[in-house]
């Protein structure tokens, strides 16, 4: 592995991490340390039904001024606007999100609107903000998104017919509380899908154009942890050691891709998610190995690191051989954990992938892919291989 002589990068990861079983009980103490006095809790109905909110609101007591839970699987611009209006009505000065990627990204959008006013469509661009936004504490209930430590949010815009990418350094969550108990009851399919989301973040951070030594180190360790502990989580969801390690993997993969960025897998997953509503993590998991195969010639050194993390690189193996072993390992791993293998299992049709292939070329992620994607037909070929 080598880096260019003119290597230069910025690494940005300002989020404080609090980890441990029952650490979510510290939420009120941590909120005080951020100067928050009136918290709006952002979550979804599934999390409430799973009984994961009661403990949080009880700990917060009167400092919880409301719970906003009207959030679908893929959040939207209108959802964020409604959430922000709710938080304003309740005079919230801190946002606590409890959930997966859709919930966390909704909360990120709300933080911007609480500080800057207006509606989300007023913020059309990238890195537009000039000051710190409303403080945000994240308590993830999945081990996948990594959004708890990134500057990005992905929010569906039905008017555009595309997922909108918000990237704002002034809006990174201040604190993430990783409590393994919050993921204990996650069903197998969600555990597999969100786990493969984290795996995709780590692999894409390794093959992306702006990858650098810090993000590589984070990504490699995330893959090691996922390779070891994700199958344990699938086998026994109550194993809190494995749950905790998977959470840590997801978070450090978040730091990796939050700085190194992601590539074609995410561009395709965002697009097929927008068109056919395939859950993001599952779309990533289905596409990952096929996209690695597509990138193989341009990213062999990155995938050789994936092979090392899986413990597959043998003495004398060159980068290309190791990279091929990594692609094969990813296919096997995904099957081993019971992850869906084909988009048709998620109801996707030929006409969906045709639209999604076109849309992928305008997704912000694609510019960092190691292989320059020239035509939508190349993307369509990949989609067809996993349809």
């Amino acid at each position: 592995m080598g880096y260019d002589e003119d290597l230069s990068f910025n690494y940005f990861g300002p989020t404080k991490i609090v980890f441990g079983i029952d650490s979510s009980k510290d939420v009120e103490i941590e909120m005080n340390s951020l100067g928050g006095t009136r918290a709006v809790v952002v979550t979804d109905k599934g999390i409430i039904a799973a009984g994961l909110i009661e403990g949080i609101t009880k700990t917060l007591g009167s400092k919880c001024v409301g719970v906003f839970s009207d959030i679908p699987q893929d959040t939207g611009v209108d959802v964020v606007d409604k959430g922000a209006a709710f938080a304003r009505e309740n005079k919230a000065n801190i946002v606590i999100s409890v959930g997966g990627g859709s919930v966390i990204d909704t909360a990120k959008g709300m933080c911007i609107l609480l500080t800057e006013g207006g509606n989300l469509r007023d913020f059309n661009g990238i890195q537009l903000l000039n000051r710190l936004q409303t403080p945000h504490i994240v308590i993830p209930t999945t081990a996948g998104t990594g959004s708890e430590v990134t500057n990005a949010a992905v929010i569906m815009d039905k008017e555009m017919g595309q997922k909108r990418l918000l990237v704002e350094n002034f809006n990174v969550p201040r604190l993430a509380i990783l409590d393994p108990k919050m993921t204990e009851k996650l069903p197998r399919l969600l555990t597999a899908g969100t786990g493969m989301d984290a795996m995709t973040h780590a692999v894409e951070a390794l093959h992306s154009i702006p990858h650098e030594p810090i993000t590589d180190a984070l990504a490699i360790h995330a893959i090691r942890l996922l390779a070891k502990y994700l199958p344990v989580c699938i086998e026994n969801g109550s194993d809190l050691v494995a749950r905790g390690q998977a959470q840590i993997a997801a978070t450090i993969a978040g730091w990796a891709f939050g700085n190194a960025m992601v590539g074609i897998v995410h561009a395709m997953a965002h697009s097929i998610g927008a068109i056919a509503h395939v859950p993001h993590g599952i779309a990533n998991g289905i596409l990952l190995a096929e996209c690695m195969d597509y990138n193989l010639e341009e990213a062999a050194d990155g995938y050789a690191m994936v092979a090392e993390a899986f413990g597959l690189r043998e003495k004398g193996m060159d980068d290309m051989d190791a990279a091929r072993a990594a692609v094969h390992a990813m296919r096997v791993f995904s099957k081993t954990i019971g992850h869906p293998q084909r988009l048709s299992e998620m109801g996707v049709k030929e006409q969906d992938i045709e639209k999604a292939a076109e849309l992928s070329l305008s997704d912000g992620s694609i510019v960092n892919n190691p292989r320059f994607v020239l035509e939508s037909s190349e993307v369509l070929d990949i989609f067809r291989k996993v349809l």
């Binding site: 059309n124 990238i126 890195q127 500057n151 305008s362």
Partner: protein, 140 residues
């Protein structure tokens, strides 16, 4: 003999270089709309006040290229804002424009998916900046 950066003379030279580029017309055939570059003040480097530059691009043709006022700049389809030193790094290809946007070294108001879809046009226009000699205000 070069031209002093961020002046009307420089904008004219830039426009001429784009028009003279044999590949530009084809690469930019899908691009429609104006771009404003906003250079934040840096008195120590010879930029006493904000400089606003307006550039109009239309399907491979180049229209108005002018030093302008704030209102005109803000009317552009895309408004990109950054420190003088960052713009200079980009012009000299010491800093990749996409990386600069993602890292917050530049700000961009406008439709990001459109820019991504036309990233080859953006890269070409930046490449052409190196086609003529520029005199930077802090190097005079």
């Amino acid at each position: 003999m070069g031209v002093r950066a961020l002046t009307q003379e420089w904008m004219d030279a830039y426009k001429a270089a784009i028009q003279a580029d044999p590949e530009y017309k084809d690469i930019a055939k899908n691009w429609e709309g104006s771009v404003a570059l906003v250079v934040l003040p840096d008195p120590a480097k010879g930029i006493p006040e904000t400089v606003y530059l307006f550039q109009d691009y239309w399907h491979g043709d180049v229209g108005e290229f002018v030093v302008c006022d704030k209102d005109k700049a803000e009317s552009a389809k895309f408004v990109m804002t950054g420190e003088y030193a960052r713009w200079k790094q980009i012009a000299r290809k010491e800093l990749d424009a996409t990386k600069a946007l993602l890292q917050g070294k530049l700000k961009m108001k406008g439709d990001l998916p459109y820019v991504v879809r036309n990233i080859k046009t953006v890269n070409k226009v930046i490449d052409i900046l190196g086609a003529f000699e520029t005199i930077w205000p802090d190097e005079v």
